[in-house]
């Protein structure tokens, strides 16, 4: 089970305070999509709340939004492991994911915008215990390879105030 207790999660240096009204409890095989307006704090939540919480309990792979930077560490990692670092981003990500040997949690922050649908399928995200994805693209339909789908919405009622309200919705099964 991937869990985050209901409560308030402040991130002082970003000037944000996340308010999760209900416990986040995602069974194995879940897909969690993070959705919200630009600047609502999705990436900050990932990097300063969810990831620090999850990495104590789970092995995780994180594909960040600033992929132009992260690909440098991906290439360096593969090189240090004595592996070839492919040129194209889709192949690089695939090789990096394979080399990580981790099949628990994968987190993609708008990574789908770099890939075609076949390339995204080729990542075979269904083998992971949990998939967390930030995306502004069209919400996909039910994914048969992932038993459960959820959406965590980020709503910032007032841009001048730190509160960000998080609301969880089950997408599938109905």
């Amino acid at each position: 089970m991937l869990e985050l207790a209901a409560g308030t999660y402040p991130v002082p240096h970003a000037g944000l305070r996340y308010e999760l009204a209900r416990d986040l409890r995602l069974p194995r095989g879940s897909w969690l999509r993070l959705r919200g307006e630009n600047g609502a704090g999705k990436t900050t939540f990932l990097e300063h709340v969810l990831i620090p919480h999850l990495k104590e309990r789970h092995c995780l792979l994180y594909l960040a939004q600033d992929m132009d930077l992260q690909q440098n560490t991906m290439r360096a990692t593969l090189a240090l492991m004595g592996l070839e670092a492919p040129q194209g981003l889709a192949d690089l990500a695939s090789a990096w994911i394979e080399a990580g040997g981790c099949q628990e949690v994968v987190i993609l922050d708008e990574f789908d915008k770099y890939l075609t649908a076949p390339q995204l399928d080729a990542l075979d995200l269904g083998r992971f215990g949990w998939v967390v994805q930030v995306s502004h693209l069209e919400r996909p339909g039910v994914r048969p390879d992932l038993p459960g789908g959820f959406e965590l919405s980020f709503v910032r009622p007032d841009a001048g105030r730190p509160e960000v309200h998080l609301g969880l919705e089950r997408l599938w099964p109905a």
Binding site: N38, G39, T43, D68, Q71, Q87, K113, L115, A117
Partner: protein, 154 residues
């Protein structure tokens, strides 16, 4: 601002063609014929004030851009590092900056990973602003390695 209908979602590209790799220089490939707004190479400077200074503009443009940003829910703060804004906010700030500074003549603007970084609401709003502020400009995105017109603003 005029949004007549709910914003169209951007679909995952179903094409077999590979997307442009992040490390390919879109400026080198398309910069001659297009004004390129590439998510991975948005700004020369690190603050908007510096950016405007380097591009030969000043206080008035800053005020105009601030007002436009507010339409998108982006609050510009004096002296704030551009990298401290979210990715989508940076795309909006860069697009509005260029809208304010580009000459009003027919030109081609290539958006690379910009529209996919915006929420549906901000995407429609940005296209609307381009149509209003730069009506003679053509907007393009990369499909595979070729610029293709954005449907709404071709």
């Amino acid at each position: 601002m005029s949004i007549a209908s709910p914003p169209e979602p951007v679909k995952q590209n179903k094409s077999e063609e590979r997307r442009t790799p992040v490390n390919a220089s879109t400026l080198a490939e398309h910069g001659r014929d297009h004004c390129v707004i590439d998510m991975h190479n948005l700004f020369v400077g690190t603050t908007l004030e510096d950016e405007l200074l380097l591009l030969g503009s000043g206080e008035k443009a800053l005020a105009d851009i601030g007002r436009e940003c507010a339409l998108f829910g982006v609050r510009l703060e004096p002296g704030r590092l551009l990298s401290s804004y979210s990715g989508g906010e940076q795309a909006i700030i860069c697009s509005l900056t260029l809208m304010a500074l580009l000459p009003r003549r027919p030109l081609r603007i290539l958006l690379v990973h910009v529209l996919e970084t915006l929420s549906p609401r901000n995407r429609e709003l940005l296209l609307d602003r381009f149509a209003t502020v730069l009506p003679d400009a053509g907007l393009f995105t990369l499909v595979g390695s070729e610029p293709q017109p954005v449907g709404r603003h071709a």
